[in-house]
């Protein structure tokens, strides 16, 4: 299975702190993406990193990809209460579909 697996399952941090979550996957990919899902809502695309990239930034988000270890990390810096959500990694292997992990639930305490 291509599916990513996130770690940790849940994370609780204080506002202003950084949140780091990891994703591991099993086989070769074209790209890896991170999505956010607020409770009961749809998935919002955050960032995409291609297999030939090692690091990417978007605002307060930093994503790394290590294809030799088949892993990725998502760092959210200076977290805000509005960052409270579930975060999913999803891998794409050139087969026109995303394989999602189980997600990390992040709670940012005010």
């Amino acid at each position: 299975s291509q599916q990513g697996e996130e770690d940790p399952q849940a994370l609780s941090i204080q506002e202003g702190e950084n949140a780091t979550m990891n994703c591991s996957y099993k086989t070769s990919i074209n790209n890896l993406q991170w999505y956010r899902q607020n409770s009961g809502r749809g998935l919002v695309h955050l960032i995409l990193i291609r297999s030939n990239e090692r690091e990417k930034h978007s605002g307060r988000l930093r994503v790394t990809l290590d294809t030799s270890k088949k892993s990725s990390s998502l760092l959210i810096t200076a977290s805000r209460a509005a960052d409270t959500a579930s975060y999913f990694c999803a891998t794409e292997a050139g087969d026109y579909k995303l394989s999602f992990g189980a997600g990390t639930t992040v709670t940012v305490r005010a």
């Binding site: 599916q3 790209n31 695309h45 999803a90 026109y96």
Partner: protein
């Protein structure tokens, strides 16, 4: 900002009934998808659709499921005879081109089968 819209937001149906979930993808997008998320579980791929035909489908997408793009704007998912285990949130997504990688998801349609 353009968005993917889905209707209904919530549908309750009796087991064995037919259900149609509707989606309006972003207008210049070419690739369309259905995913589902059973409560508390992973988001699962159901089907991808391009150029008026299915590109890829998962094992979940059996003969009870079908998709259609009837009029160039709507993209529908039909479940012919619903089962209890079809209860889930169904997400439609669209993508401009297969190389872009970024999918735009709708807010989902929650299906409850009684």
């Amino acid at each position: 900002e353009p968005e993917v819209t889905q209707t209904p937001s919530h549908q309750v149906t009796q087991m064995g009934q037919e259900v149609i979930l509707r989606c309006v993808p972003i207008s210049n997008h070419l690739y369309f998808y259905w995913y589902r998320q059973i409560l508390g579980q992973k988001v699962e791929f159901l089907v991808s659709f391009y150029n008026n035909e299915i590109s890829e489908k998962s094992e979940i997408f059996d003969d009870q499921f079908s998709v259609e793009r009837p009029d160039g704007s709507n993209f529908t998912l039909k479940i012919r005879s619903t089962k209890l285990e079809d209860s889930a949130m169904y997400f439609c997504a669209s993508e401009w081109g297969s190389s872009t990688g970024e999918l735009f998801f709708g807010e989902g349609s929650r299906l409850t089968v009684l």
